[in-house]
């Protein structure tokens, strides 16, 4: 399988070097892989995810994502808009927009015609099982439904890679299970998924689990993913 994410000696410091969030991370992910990164709070999982998604730049080291050198790329906005889909623990949907309108938000950057944006958003809501909720504002949706809208939003521009940060952290177990099933379905369609979680039960749905501590990857476990 082609390698889609590769990092070498990735270091990220804050506070002028006083806080070392990443301390020489080496990671390789192949296209279509579903990996999970586990570790205690503050071990650098989210920082790593932010760097892989072009939200932040490393202090040193190398990082290549879908043939883009993120240390050298000048325009990371375009990279994020086209190649990456983010799902966060907090869905952060815009409260005054309907589910369908929220899904269209990333598409505004690609200048698609309004009608096309709407049709595409409706298809994505069908994909996550929310076709009958497309005109609902977030306050009228359950926590699980909101997270599904956030997944549809992450898929809006057809990214190859989904970066997922504690997606079930705020959900009950039934909703969490439904959300994980969506990620498994997306992975079956060869979408690469990098999931960050401190929940072992969630991480075990991935085919590879990396364990992080103090900004380093300590262990890698290959397993048979449960679909």
């Amino acid at each position: 399988m082609d390698r889609i994410i590769s990092t070498r000696n990735l270091v990220k410091t804050f506070e002028g070097g006083l806080v070392k969030a990443l301390n020489g991370v080496n990671l390789e992910v192949s296209e279509g892989e579903f990996i999970a990164i586990m570790g205690p709070s503050g071990c650098g999982k989210s920082t790593l995810l932010h760097i892989l998604g072009g939200l932040d730049r490393p202090t040193s080291g190398e990082v290549m994502v879908d043939e883009v050198d993120l240390c050298k790329a000048r325009n990371l906005d375009n990279f994020r808009a086209r190649k990456i889909g983010f799902v966060f623990q907090m869905h952060n949907l815009i409260p005054v927009l309907t589910a369908c309108e929220n899904v269209q938000i990333p598409m505004l950057e690609l200048k698609l015609p309004s009608k096309e944006r709407k049709e595409k958003a409706e298809k994505l809501l069908v994909l996550v099982g929310l076709e009958d909720r497309k005109d609902f504002v977030p306050t009228k949706l359950s926590g699980g439904e909101r997270q599904k809208v956030a997944i549809a939003r992450a898929l809006a521009n057809g990214p190859k890679i989904l970066l997922v940060d504690e997606p079930t952290g705020n959900l009950d177990s039934a909703s969490g299970h439904e959300v994980i099933q969506i990620f498994q379905r997306l992975n079956k369609d060869r979408r690469t998924i990098v999931l960050v979680s401190h929940d072992k039960d969630i991480a075990e749905h991935a085919s590879v689990i990396y364990y992080m501590s103090d900004g380093k990857i300590l262990e890698k476990t290959k397993r048979q993913a449960t679909h």
């Binding site: 939200l55 906005d77 994020r80 889909g85 966060f88 309108e101 309004s114 521009n157």
Partner: protein
């Protein structure tokens, strides 16, 4: 969904806060509209008086702060008429009298033979011929419910109304005219007029004659157009300066209000802005969104402020103290000025918050609690 829809929905999130911001700016806009309309009304009224009837220009006393203070020796009328190129010159006096609850009614003293020169067109009845006769403006006639044959009392003296006239100038049509001699006597200004109207011979050079008059009579000044009203009325210039100052204050106060509203809004939406950056929105789009919101707030303010301004002026001009003196005039220029001010408020007030929002690091914004 369009980008504009998002901007509109964003400002409707905090309806009360947005409403108060709009209200604050609207008050500034209403003041600009009101002052502008009143200024235009006063200028137009003054212009109507100074360029009335057949007059090509008018002559007043130089160096005065207010047109009503002008005092010219009546002999100057004949001297100006004798100038080459001048067809006719007519001296007119003005007094302000309280009549039947209206404290400011303009009474014009004019010679019977100069009425046409003064722009008077008698629409009912006939002109005055006796000392205690007068003709009344069409608007004043309707306002006061006076008609030909009725009486009008000016400072305990009773006058018969012999005719109703119209000139097209509000200051004249809301007043009355009687013989120059009688008004000079009542005003204790025998031998003086306030303004001299001058009609030129065909082909005469206006500029050259005005220059000649000002050189020959240094105590006089000529007024050819509205732009020269400042020569005889500093009040208009002061009002214009006040209007500009209010516009500037409106920009300043409104701008601070908009900045405050938008800053609060972006603090509340920091994580959301982080998500927008995460899904690929460029800084420029974040900047456009926040600026769009502040400009849209100000566009709403123009609409509401214009309404406030028009209603406010209406309420003001029906007050007995003001009624009849100022007739507001609404022009596109007035509303255009208000729109430009509001747009500037939106742009200036929104610029800093928009810049701050666009400069947010997506990673830090997502961590914001």
């Amino acid at each position: 969904m369009r980008f504009l829809t998002l901007i509109l929905k964003n400002i409707l999130r905090r309806k009360t806060r947005s409403a108060f911001t709009v209200l604050g700016i609207s008050i500034g806009i209403a003041t600009i509209i009101a002052l502008g309309a009143l200024m235009k009304g006063v200028t137009s009224g003054m212009e109507g008086v100074l360029k009335t009837g057949k007059a090509d220009f008018s002559v007043a006393q130089s160096g005065i702060a207010d047109f009503s203070f002008s005092r010219i020796n009546e002999n100057r009328t004949g001297e100006i008429q004798a100038l080459e190129g001048v067809k006719k010159a007519a001296g007119v006096l003005m007094g302000i009298y309280p009549i039947e609850g209206n404290p400011y009614v303009f009474i014009w003293g004019v010679k019977n033979e100069d009425l046409q020169m003064f722009g008077v067109n008698i629409v009912n009845g006939s002109s005055f011929s006796q000392e205690h006769e007068l003709i009344i403006g069409e608007v004043a006639s309707k306002d006061m419910g006076k008609k030909v044959g009725d009486k009008l009392v000016l400072r305990q003296e009773e006058f018969n109304i012999t005719g109703v006239f119209e000139t097209g100038s509000i200051y004249q049509d809301k007043g009355a005219a009687l013989s120059l001699k009688k008004l000079q006597e009542m005003e204790k200004k025998e031998g003086y007029v306030m303004v001299i109207y001058v009609e030129l011979e065909e082909g005469a050079n206006l500029e050259e004659i005005c220059q000649r008059i000002e050189e020959r009579f240094p105590d006089l000044v000529t007024i050819k157009s509205a732009s020269e009203l400042g020569k005889v009325d500093r009040g208009l210039e002061i009002m214009d300066a006040a209007s500009l100052a209010v516009s500037f204050l409106a920009i300043l106060i409104g701008g601070v209000g908009v900045t405050n509203t938008m800053m609060m809004s972006i603090y509340e939406r920091t994580r959301e802005i982080g998500v927008l950056r995460a899904v690929g929105w460029r800084r420029k789009r974040i900047l456009s969104m926040i600026l769009g919101e502040s400009i849209l707030l100000c566009v709403f303010s123009v609409l509401i402020g214009s309404l406030f301004g028009v209603v406010g002026v209406k309420l003001l001009t029906i007050q007995p103290l003001i009624r009849g003196i100022i007739e507001p005039m609404y022009t596109m220029d007035t509303f255009g000025r208000a729109f430009v001010v509001a747009f500037a408020v939106g742009l200036i007030g929104g610029l800093y918050p928009a810049y701050r929002a666009s400069k947010l690091s997506p990673s830090e914004a997502l961590r914001y609690e």
